[in-house]
């Protein structure tokens, strides 16, 4: 296990508080948890790609980074109304 995979594991555990925040807190706080989790998962995919030397993983990160942004923006606009 190299340093990249160790970092990916540590950041994977950092996803748990974001998940708890999204499940337990009110919707606007959960949206922030979702936004942070999107960035974390993109970073984890970068680290896995480097750790395993597998190029397809980095493509997943390239796709996920803008998709997470679009999803978060859509949720933010929808939450202008009291959903």
């Amino acid at each position: 296990m190299n340093e990249w995979l160790i970092a990916a594991t540590v950041l994977g555990f950092a996803l748990i508080p974001c998940l708890v925040l999204a499940l337990v807190s009110p919707a606007p706080h959960g949206l922030l948890g979702l936004e942070i989790a999107g960035v974390l998962v993109s970073t984890i995919l970068m680290l896995l790609s480097e750790g395993f030397h597998r190029q397809p993983f980095i493509d997943l990160a390239v796709v996920l980074a803008p998709m997470a942004l679009v999803g978060s923006l859509a949720f933010a606009r929808l939450m202008e109304r009291q959903l």
């Binding site: 606007p28 942070i36 993109s42 190029q55 990160a61 390239v62 939450m79």
Partner: protein, 109 residues
């Protein structure tokens, strides 16, 4: 130890610490607007990790795309924070544009 590996390791640890700090800050703060600061911070951790990958791999396929992801996350972070803040203000206080329109009508002779 090769100096590139050393720099990559330092950048990796720094980026990881920034990301963990952002998650800890998200949990530690109680107010919604306090928590929003950490959404902008976490992109910089991703950029540092991407630069660490570039130091290790040079400008290979993985290095280029990692740098692209890091730059995208840093550039879109403030956009995301601004949009979220705007939406939450509208959610809490209503649309300010309607209030401006009402004030304009009241002032007109």
């Amino acid at each position: 130890m090769n100096w590139r590996i050393l720099v990559a390791t330092v950048l990796l640890v720094a980026g990881g610490m920034i990301e963990l700090l952002a998650v800890v800050g998200l949990c530690a703060m109680r107010d919604l607007y306090d928590r929003m600061h950490f959404v902008g911070l976490i992109g910089y951790g991703a950029l540092l990790i991407a630069v660490a990958i570039v130091f290790r791999e040079s400008f290979s396929l993985i290095g280029d795309k990692a740098l692209l992801v890091g730059v995208v996350l840093v550039l879109t972070g403030p956009v995301l924070v601004h949009t979220t803040m705007r939406s939450m203000l509208i959610r809490a206080h209503g649309d300010w544009r309607a209030a401006i329109e009402r004030a304009r009508k009241d002032d007109s002779p």
